[in-house]
């Protein structure tokens, strides 16, 4: 175990995987000489060379598509999108090709690609650089969607992603890169579709993922002081989705709040709430609450941005409505 940051954990996973499998390579904007816009790929070019750490032009559609083609040609590409916002330019290749190739060709083709993308708000980057688009990918059958909150999960899930046969969208939160945590040295694999119960509680289930996990844990601590014992679940992957762990918790608590940084409407939390109504209706003692980002483009102004984003206080208010 080492105490390292989320960024270092990702970098460590990349090094271990590049060492393990010759077919793995990284490409994207600024991944080589610059070391990655968020320094996740820092130092890799010097070790692995230009063949395996490739700087691309600003052509998201085509370098993502080229990653898909390279995967079909027997390689295991890791394609880094500088941020998920730019990934919208590649959505055609992701949705129309990566997600469908295995199915529409009758199972005869595979696309083992990992597309990494930082996302998230909170740095006053304005409307076009502050989005959380996990729901877009979760909506599309054929894509695995991975969204780690902790350094250990960042490492373990990335290493697992590189052993998958399906295309994986790997979403990192820009606010988490500096977060430190205990990370196992060497081989560490976290399975897809296994949520993590970070805190046990009997009164209320708080379901979250990515950066909001930390807000949720802070809110749970506050709720405890107020006499409410909240359980906190980190989903870790949205596809596959471990609803069973959530259901088990809700059957115990009878109440649930879903906390996420995507837009409230049509967000991943909306899907989780819908599934809870379908599968745990008789166990629910109150409506499922959603704490999410306000349905607006992200404003630049710091006060407005903070108000648009979900916060521990919002979670506590939601808890007060249903407990």
């Amino acid at each position: 175990m080492s105490q390292i940051t989320y960024r270092e954990a990702l970098n460590q996973a990349l090094r271990e995987e590049l060492d393990r499998d010759e077919r793995i390579f990284i490409m994207g904007e600024e991944v080589g000489y610059f070391g990655g816009a968020f320094k996740v790929t820092d130092g890799l070019l010097a070790i692995y060379g230009e063949k395996r750490v490739r700087d691309t032009p600003i052509s998201e559609l085509t370098f993502v598509g080229a990653g898909i083609g390279a995967a079909m040609g027997g390689l295991r590409p890791i394609v880094e999108l500088m941020t998920v916002n730019f990934g919208l330019l590649a959505l055609d290749q992701i949705v129309n090709n990566a997600a469908k190739i295995h199915y529409m060709f009758g199972g005869k083709a595979k696309v083992p690609i990992v597309i990494r993308a930082p996302q998230g708000a909170g740095h006053q980057l304005g409307a076009q650089h502050s989005q959380n688009l996990e729901a877009y990918f979760m909506h599309c059958p054929g894509l695995r969607v991975v969204i780690p909150a902790t350094p250990a999960d960042a490492k373990g899930l990335l290493k697992t992603a590189l052993r998958q046969e399906d295309p994986v969208i790997f979403l990192e939160h820009e606010s988490l890169y500096h977060v430190k945590g205990e990370v196992p040295d060497g081989e560490h694999l976290v399975p897809f579709g296994k949520a993590n119960v970070l805190r046990e509680g009997k009164d209320l289930t708080l379901v979250s993922y990515s950066k909001c996990v930390y807000d949720t844990l802070a809110a749970a601590q506050e709720l405890e002081n107020m006499g409410t014992d909240a359980e906190v679940i980190d989903l870790r992957t949205l596809n596959p989705l471990d609803l069973d762990t959530v259901l088990e918790s809700v059957k115990k608590t009878g109440k649930a709040i879903v906390v996420y940084e995507g837009w409230r409407t049509g967000g991943a939390g909306a899907e989780i709430a819908a599934q809870l109504y379908e599968k745990a209706f008789d166990h629910l003692d109150a409506p499922v609450e959603r704490v999410a980002t306000m349905d607006t483009p992200m404003p630049y102004n710091a006060r407005l941005e903070k108000a648009a984003l979900p916060s521990p206080a919002d979670i506590i208010s939601a808890a007060e409505r249903i407990v």
Binding site: P57, L61, M72, L75, D92
Partner: protein
């Protein structure tokens, strides 16, 4: 449209190719034509549904290009890909069964006319978003270069793909990284019903090669040997590590954009002019005149491919539907 091609060289090519190879090309073109005619008939009879884009008229492009490739070279295509898939060596039974939506289809009935795929012959798929296949071909080229293999990735697309960003980005990336990719633009003058000159500022499409620093040539897409010669050169260049090429094959589709297109945007006169340049009749005429192949030999080939296609239709018709319980199979790799 004037063709900047050297007929003398093409004529020469005919003489240097051996008779067996020329007859093989004739057979493939005839097979594709017969396949497409049957597809149209089966569509009219309701056996084939959905979208169905026929390749009749353009056979010389697929056959000439693929004849110039190795078996292990990759081919990426579009939604008008029956011809490319058959030219690459797909079993006509499996292709027809796919059009019928059957379990025995080349994509097990999940793809249909627009999404044929067969890894065994390195036919890497038909893609139905215009320009969507180009980045994949670049990636296949990258995989070849990465593994230091001798293959090339050959990508077919229509004139309609040229205004797409994917075209420009793909040519740039393939050239920047000197990847073994052959970009073949089938210029049939219409993107659905929109004339090339109403969609692209530069009508001489091969000239888009120049800004991307690769060779660009325009060939007669109604002449299988002209296509063969250009692709042979492009493939040799790619295998030498000298990077991609752009080939514009000027051709004509004898039918509408799809089976649901009544073709009201072009004149009968124009269609007649191009039908006189039918690539199969063209090769037939030259085989008779220049290679002294007998008419009976060519008739026999036509009859043989006719029987192959009739058998493919029978096979497709008698094949089972995909089972309902397998509807959700292969969304993810199991």
């Amino acid at each position: 449209m004037a063709l900047e091609r050297d007929k003398h060289v093409a004529q020469h090519a005919l003489l240097t190719l051996d008779e067996a190879q020329l007859l093989a090309m004739y057979r493939k073109m005839s097979l594709i034509r017969r396949f497409e005619e049957k597809s149209a008939e089966m569509y009219t009879r309701g056996k084939i549904t959905g979208f169905c884009h026929l390749y009749a008229g353009e056979e010389a492009v697929a056959v000439g290009a693929i004849e110039a490739l190795y078996d292990k070279d990759y081919v990426v295509s579009t939604y008008r890909e029956h011809g490319h898939c058959l030219a690459k060596g797909a079993d006509p039974r499996a292709v027809m069964a796919e059009l019928f939506g059957k379990a025995t289809g080349i994509s097990h009935g999940r793809g249909g006319s627009m999404h044929l795929f067969d890894p065994d012959i390195r036919f890497m798929g038909g893609y139905a978003i215009v320009g969507g296949g180009l980045p994949l071909a670049v990636g296949l080229g990258l995989s070849i270069a990465y593994k230091e293999e001798p293959e090339v990735a050959c990508c077919f697309f229509g004139d309609g793909a040229l205004p797409q960003g994917a075209f420009h980005e793909s040519l740039n990336l393939a050239s920047l990284w000197k990847l073994p990719v052959i970009f073949i633009c089938e210029n049939n003058f219409y993107g659905m019903g929109t004339l090339v000159q109403n969609a692209i500022c530069q009508e001489e499409l091969y000239r888009f090669a120049e800004p991307y620093k690769m060779p660009g040539v325009r060939v007669d897409g109604m002449d299988v040997l002209d296509v063969y010669r250009a692709v042979t050169e492009a493939a040799a260049r790619a295998r030498e590590g000298d990077g991609p090429s752009l080939i514009e094959a000027v051709t004509y589709r004898f039918r509408g954009h799809s089976m649901s297109d009544p073709v009201e945007y072009r004149s009968k006169r124009e269609e007649r002019i191009w039908q006189e340049r039918d690539p199969i009749k063209n090769l037939r005429r030259r085989l008779l005149a220049e290679k002294r192949v007998s008419e009976a030999r060519l008739d026999q080939i036509d009859a043989e491919v006719g029987a192959v296609i009739d058998d493919a239709v029978k096979f497709a018709d008698e094949s089972p539907e995909p089972p309902l319980e397998e509807l959700a199979k292969n969304v993810y790799v199991e």
